[in-house]
Symmetry: C2
Subunit: 401 residues, 2 copies
Amino acid sequence: MLIVQKFGGSSVADAQRIKRVAGIVADTYKNGNDVVVVLSAPGDMTDDLIEKAAEINPGASRRELDMLLSTGEQQSVALCAMALESIGIPAVSMTGWQAGIQTTGQYGNARIRSINSERLLSELDRKRVILVAGFQGTTSFYDITTIGRGGSDTTAVALAAALKADVCQIFTDVDGVYTADPRIVPEASKLDEITYDEMLELASMGAKVLHNRSVEMARKYSVKLEVRSSFTNKPGTIVKENVKMEETRISGIAKDSDIARIALVGLRDEPGVAFKVFRLMAAQNINVDIILQSIGRENSKDISFTVHKGDLKPAENALLTEKESIGFASLDVSSTLCKVSIVGAGMINSSGVAASMFEALYDANVNIHMISTSEIKVSVLIDDVNAEIAMKAIHRKFFGD
Amino acid sequence: MLIVQKFGGSSVADAQRIKRVAGIVADTYKNGNDVVVVLSAPGDMTDDLIEKAAEINPGASRRELDMLLSTGEQQSVALCAMALESIGIPAVSMTGWQAGIQTTGQYGNARIRSINSERLLSELDRKRVILVAGFQGTTSFYDITTIGRGGSDTTAVALAAALKADVCQIFTDVDGVYTADPRIVPEASKLDEITYDEMLELASMGAKVLHNRSVEMARKYSVKLEVRSSFTNKPGTIVKENVKMEETRISGIAKDSDIARIALVGLRDEPGVAFKVFRLMAAQNINVDIILQSIGRENSKDISFTVHKGDLKPAENALLTEKESIGFASLDVSSTLCKVSIVGAGMINSSGVAASMFEALYDANVNIHMISTSEIKVSVLIDDVNAEIAMKAIHRKFFGD
């Protein structure tokens, strides 16, 4: 088998941990597999470098920041290659450009355009473990780029796609994807399998296991993902196209507290009002999540929507500045809310899932402020203080005790 | 003018110093020059990385060490580019491979083979300051190499040669090359000019201003060097092919205390004896400096030679092991000696220079143990305790008070 393994920054933070990673990689290699390893920068190095740069020039160009930051992953792969050498495993480290990873020119947030896998394949032919620096590539002019948030996960998936790997294993400090956050819902259980779509919904709902960008890429190129623990040697959760459904209709419950609600009251009930509001938000680079529009009556309607907490003040200011041109009576905000979601590909074919969730919340005496649904998820906005009781109630409803 | 400027690790050790380097570069640029800057890794970073590597694998391969170490210079150039940006100077940082520096495949001690200056020239055309990571390049297979001791000086000279720069300025913490070490001889004065050959002799005699490798390359490609201070804005010492001679027949006095003498007494006076001794030293990788052989008499002769202090014990052991086969009566060693040399291209055409040196030492009552001469230098081996008095006496003889 050809296996791509990805380890995050905390896994390579010091010599001891690097040796542990090398041990996991060595075991995989000794079992007869070809192994490509993707690593992040050690521990806090990226943050330290950003701080150093800010001290010199708070407005440094993204090109030079990428030049600086890309050294972190380069150090990780070199050190891990040394650790593998020391236990007799042939290994070779590569920067993004050496691994043939070509990106677009948006420094700091580049997209992977293509991977020239010639060198990678020849090293695999020589039975060497390849360690590739995550999070980076080069433009067609050979300038170093970084590929933004979730970068190393994305590098791993892109390499798995280019090399047609059998599986792309993402090592984390948890042993898989759970039906709910075990810190909140102790009865939560690990899922053996989950679909890409479910994983995407869970991630965007606040389950921080995999970055959405890497899951989207995995779905696009049908790369089988496995989320597993770097501390235990147990199978994790497989993310793939189709999973066996069994009786469970939902795969997980997620909570997102980084949410604030804005309500515009007394808007004129005429075309173009919503457009004006959300064009204004887009112009401010503010992401809007759940949108709820009341049914118009007496020539007036209300629009409520949620934003990230950090965007609340800018959004409020922008709206108040444009109060006249948009035309609303008053503005109401709340930042003591949270969003709880259930996700499951089985939902589509199964009626009553949303109703069961609402029933669980009613039984737990939790008031619902807003509701949003998609084909595979149901989200509700509730008071933050009710989050725990709500999640436990929903979990009990769907998974029992 | 096209100027290459090189700054060492201590000049880029923190944000404040990086800003000072940027200030010097900016002034050069604002005076209408094209500027290429070569930087070393910040402060102790290279040593720190070597330590980190040793913790993981004391026998790490040189390929992976080079991969690791090359990140230091990359950080320097990125940070310095940011500092230039912040004061409005257009700048672009480059790794060794981006700058087109191709080397041989000897990791850790590679030689620069060629420089593809296409990208460099196009950036200069765009009136950008280019910051090149010193000490590194890539093999023809795009593996990262480092070029060993004196690396960043050598990178600077190689770039100056490839770009046909008008001058290559090496910034140090001294303001030039002196007639003698000012800490020993307070009357020592700064030289305005010196030839490559004199600089080479001075360097190998213990004047640690420029690494020999970079001076040799400068001589080969006729690159005009300037050694100058990064703390003052004064002209330094120019190193070039021909200098105006004036009345001074020597350009400097140097001292080397890292020296030990071995004397083999009572060797048979027959062919092949010297060969046996120095083949043995070569086999042990021991560099031999001054060699003195007494005139044979009564079928017996003596050979004395000097080695670095660190090589004394291994040399002694090797000789004693082979005492029978070489055939000597006894072995005598001394490590309380030092070598004092005078260097000057003018010597060739000027009789009596060596005699003046010996006269100065005689007047100062300093006993000479060994003498060695070349076309442009005279070295004497004296007791270490006499070093200071000897240098002052020689300096007074040649340069006055």
